[in-house]
Symmetry: C2
Subunit: 277 residues, 2 copies
C-alpha cells in the first residue's frame, strides 16, 4: 500500500472494508502527511464525490469519523477545515498531591455564566444528601482556551457546605452576592467560606453532546466528549458539592505524570493499564 509522492490512493471496491472507512483512512493519512495544514480548507464534498467516485453518503460518513476524532472541523456553508491539534491539560501527580496543573503556554479561562437555586429533588440531591424540599446552588461555567470553548461545568453546592456559607444564606435567603460572575468563583468559595474539600470522587466516561451543551460549546450535536463527574466531601465524609463537567473530546486531552514509589508492592507498574491487569 506504499505509494510514491503525488500518487493518489483510491477506494478498493473489491475490499470487504467499507468505502467510508477506506476513505477516512486515506484522508487522515493525507492530513498527517501535511497535504493540508491546520486551517486549510478540504475539498468540498461534491469535489470528493468526483475524486473518489462514491456517493455523498459515503463522503459524509468518512468526514463524520474524522470530525469525531478531532481531525477536521465543519460548519454549515463553509468548506470543512483541517483542525488545530488538541489542547493538552497537564498535571503532575507526585508522592504527595496534585501539583502544577496547566495547559502549557495557554490560559484556560473559566467564566461563570449562570448562578441559581434549584430544587434538590433527583440524582444530585441524593448525592449531596439534601432532602427534596431544600434548595441547592447551581453554578454553570464555560471554559475556553485561546478563544476556543472547550468545556462546560456545572457545580451543585450544598448551602450547608460550610458554616460561613450557611450563615450567609440564612441572612439573605439568596445565593450570596459574594459569588460574583467571574473566573474566580470557585476560589471565592474556598477563601471566603472556608469550604475545605478532603476527598474527591471523580468519574471519567465518554458521552455525546446534547443540545444544551452543543449550543454553549459551539460544537455539533452528538459529538464525543469526556464527562467528568466529581463528588467532593470534607474530612468527615459529608458531601459538599457535585460537579459535572463536559470536555470536548475533539479539542482536549489529559496528561498526568505519575511518580511511582520505590516501595510499591508487587502490583504491575507498566503504565496505567498495568493496574487493570
Amino acid at each position: 500500500m506504499r505509494l510514491s509522492e503525488g500518487q493518489t490512493r483510491v477506494i478498493d471496491r473489491a475490499s470487504p472494508i467499507p468505502f467510508y472507512y477506506q476513505l477516512q483512512e486515506i484522508l487522515k493519512e493525507e492530513i498527517e502527511q501535511g497535504r493540508w495544514q491546520p486551517g486549510d480548507l478540504l475539498p468540498s464534498e461534491a469535489a470528493l464525490e468526483q475524486r473518489f467516485g462514491v456517493s455523498r453518503t459515503v463522503i459524509r460518513q468518512a468526514l463524520d469519523v474524522l470530525q469525531a476524532d478531532g481531525q477536521i472541523s465543519r460548519a454549515k456553508g463553509r468548506r470543512s477545515m483541517v483542525a488545530e491539534p488538541k489542547f493538552r491539560w497537564e498535571a503532575t501527580l507526585g508522592a504527595h498531591s496534585w501539583n502544577q496543573p496547566a495547559v502549557p503556554n495557554q490560559v484556560m479561562l473559566g467564566r461563570l455564566v449562570d448562578a441559581r437555586h434549584v430544587q434538590a429533588g433527583g440524582h444530585v440531591g441524593r448525592l449531596l444528601d439534601v432532602h427534596d424540599a431544600a434548595d441547592i446552588f447551581e453554578l454553570t461555567y464555560t471554559h475556553e482556551v485561546a478563544g476556543r470553548p472547550v468545556a462546560l461545568s456545572q457545580m451543585y453546592l450544598r448551602p450547608q457546605a460550610s458554616p460561613g456559607l450557611a450563615q450567609a444564606c440564612a441572612d439573605t435567603g439568596e445565593l450570596p452576592t459574594l459569588i460574583e460572575r467571574g473566573p474566580d468563583a470557585a476560589d471565592q468559595l474556598a477563601s471566603r467560606y472556608g469550604i475545605k474539600v478532603a476527598i474527591s470522587d471523580v468519574t471519567v466516561e465518554l458521552t455525546q453532546l446534547n443540545a444544551f451543551e452543543a449550543d454553549l460549546l459551539g460544537a455539533p450535536l452528538g459529538s464525543a466528549a469526556f464527562l467528568l463527574s466529581s463528588l467532593d466531601r470534607d474530612a468527615a465524609q459529608t458531601p459538599l458539592s457535585f460537579t459535572r463537567a463536559i470536555v470536548r473530546g475533539d479539542q482536549f486531552r489529559f496528561s498526568l505524570v505519575l511518580h511511582q514509589r520505590e516501595t510499591e508492592g508487587p502490583t504491575g507498574t507498566h503504565g496505567l493499564m498495568a493496574y487493570m491487569t
Copy 2:
C-alpha cells in the same frame, strides 16, 4: 413535554431540532424509564420507521448516537439490544500513591495475544530513544471483564530497559521465553528483570476504533474509545517502555478517589475542573 404513562412521544416536524436528535432523545428516555431492560431487543428499524414516520436514514442516525453513547448494542442480522451498564474501574489516589485499583466485583483479565520484535523506526522508537536499526519488543494484550472484551493494549519495551533483560536478549537474540503467553506478563517483567518504573507520563484522549482494534474488541468500526498513552521512565529519566491502550468508551468508565491535603495552596479544589480554572 411531560406526558402521562403509556403515551407516545412523537417527532415535532416543525421543530428546528433535527429529527434524528429528537428521536434519539425519545428512545433514550424510554430506555431510562425502563420500557426495555438491558438485554431486551428494540423494535426493528423498519418498525421504528413505521412508528415515527421517518426514513431509515433518520432511524439509523438516532441509533448511531445511542450506540456511541453505550445505550444500545447492535449486530448484523439481529435486532438492536439495550446494553448493559458500563463497567467501572476504580482507583484510590491517596497522599502517597495509587492504591487498590479494581473493577469492583469483577475480574479484569489481561491476556497476552501477541509478542514480537518490531523495527524501532518511527514514533515509538523516538519516544524510547532507540535508533532506527534496533529492535523493540511489542507485547499485545486484550483485556476483558465478565467475558466482554473492553480493552486492548500494546506495550513497547526497550531491550535495554534493565540489565537483566538486556542480558537475556544478548543470550538468545529473541524475546526471552520467560515472557510467556498469559495474564501476568507485566508482572514477570517487574519481578524477573527488575524493571523499575519511577515516572509514568500518561495521556488520555478520545479516539475511534480502527479496523484492527474493532476486530480484536468485537466492536463496530469507528466507535468512540479512550486512548491511553503511557511513557514509563526509570529514576534516571531513561525511557523504559511505551504503552498504548484502547479502552471501549461504550463499556467503561474510570473512577478516581482523590485525597486532598489540608496544607494545599490556594488553588481551587472543587473537583477536577477546578484545576483547569
